[in-house]
Symmetry: C2
Subunit: 243 residues, 2 copies
DNA sequence: AGACTTTTAAATGTCAGACAAATAAAAATT
DNA sequence: AATTTTTATTTGTCTGACATTTAAAAGTCT
């Protein structure tokens, strides 16, 4: 693990990269303790604050965790699916909001991915997941619900659908696509009529999953995608020529 | 933007979260300059090194960039697709390697997602992307190729397939799934015979894309998935009872 | 006046040394 | 033997300083 002392500034970035490489390559394994900050500053020939900045960079990516005290130090962290979810969602959300991604583009990606899960979900969905989906549908039918709460429940419904595939890697990949859509969905005003329509489609999907009818799930997801895009178009149109 | 001074240690994490929230919520917009480190230490009532640790955390997530000099400072960064790709790939790769994800699980996820792109790619693939795919197939047929190089070319082929969908959000989501598989694929030893088989399937996929035959692409991807899983099984079996 | 050079000020990058707080192991005491 | 106290180690934080980079301001020359 070496850094180039001749290179431009940002020693902390170089040190972070060196340690990151060691972790990714497997030279440092999970739960292994890194040298103490003092030792690292010796090894890299930099001051302790610089080493600390490097360690904080790694901590921000959940690559290490630190512990105080006598036997403390920085340890290589086992990246959990949960941590990875959280990072994915933050990144995806910012990516969509900062790059002016069109609603259609994001929507297309989301439903394409979700339809990829559908056949697996139809095979493997548990009774528990079906119950979750029905509970969310029930919540969505409550009259006093705000648009934000409706969207949040929609996300929960679709997460249950994705989790139904029983593949944690798929769930992780989809987390970003599904959750990152929420801010975009929040721009839509849901009328009572459109909520009814969405709830009906959600019910159809749940029924089809219960009956293990993959084709029906796929078909209904396409319908839901088209309907969602239509709603977004209506909002855009109304903005263009307001009352 | 406030932090709780009564809370446990790790002030830099709290400050990073406060600024992160401000960015995600839109209170800080792209290219906006944050207060200088000195001003931030005043505002949050902490020392400059603590502020710097917080800023480095954000820099590690590509949320800010810093610039030295008179008009320098920390600026909210527009998260590019490229930056997001890179982060996704690192995260996905570590997630798979640290959590002992089964080859089958990762493989299933990857091909499910890839099949989600197939219909869109069949519609939209450009001549350029087809050329890339054929070039990679040609490379894969070279006799002296190492297994690592073969895998790398395989990844390039599949990335072109995914990019064919012409949806950057899809490409971003898939980058992790496809690239993170590479270390797992590298455990497979490819015989001349198995390379031939894979190349034949790659050719079929490319032909089907050229002919805009979505169904054929899907079918061949399923074949490729099954074949890949069979290869992995053979490796596992051979390890169990070696010569 | 205009073009070029020099100075200056502001900001990040880095360093050194110190103290605080947490924590577990070792030592002392009951 | 069990409990308490001490001690050593390590991260967390602070203060103050200097180096480096950079753009704007000031100065100088034609």
């Amino acid at each position: 693990m070496k850094i180039d002392p001749q290179k431009p500034a940002d020693l902390s970035a170089q040190i972070a990269q060196a340690i990151r490489d060691a972790i990714v390559s497997g030279a440092l394994i999970v739960d292994e303790r890194l040298p103490s900050e003092a030792e690292l500053s010796d090894q890299f020939q930099v001051s302790r604050p610089t080493v600390r900045e490097a360690l904080k960079r790694l901590a921000a990516q959940s690559l290490i965790r630190t512990q105080r005290g006598a036997t403390g130090g920085a340890f290589v962290n086992r990246l959990s699916f949960e941590d990875a979810y959280a990072q994915q969602i933050t990144t995806s959300t910012l990516l969509l909001s900062m790059n002016a991604v069109r609603f259609d583009t994001a929507c297309e990606a989301r439903y394409a991915l979700e339809r990829a899960c559908a056949p697996l979900s139809a095979q493997r969905r548990t009774a528990d997941q079906l119950a979750t989906m029905r509970a969310e549908i029930f919540r969505q039918a409550q009259p006093g619900l705000t648009d934000e709460a409706f969207c949040a429940s929609d996300v929960a419904f679709h997460r249950a659908l994705v989790d139904g595939a029983g593949n944690p890697v798929l769930s992780y990949q989809l987390a970003g696509a599904v959750e990152a859509m929420q801010p975009l969905m929040n721009m839509i005003t849901f009328t009572a009529r459109s909520r009814e329509e969405i709830i009906a489609l959600h019910s159809q999907i749940t029924d089809a999953l219960e009956g293990r009818d993959a084709a029906k799930v796929d078909l209904t997801l396409v319908e839901l995608e088209n309907y969602t895009r239509k709603l977004a178009q209506d909002v855009a149109q109304q903005r263009r020529k307001p009352a």
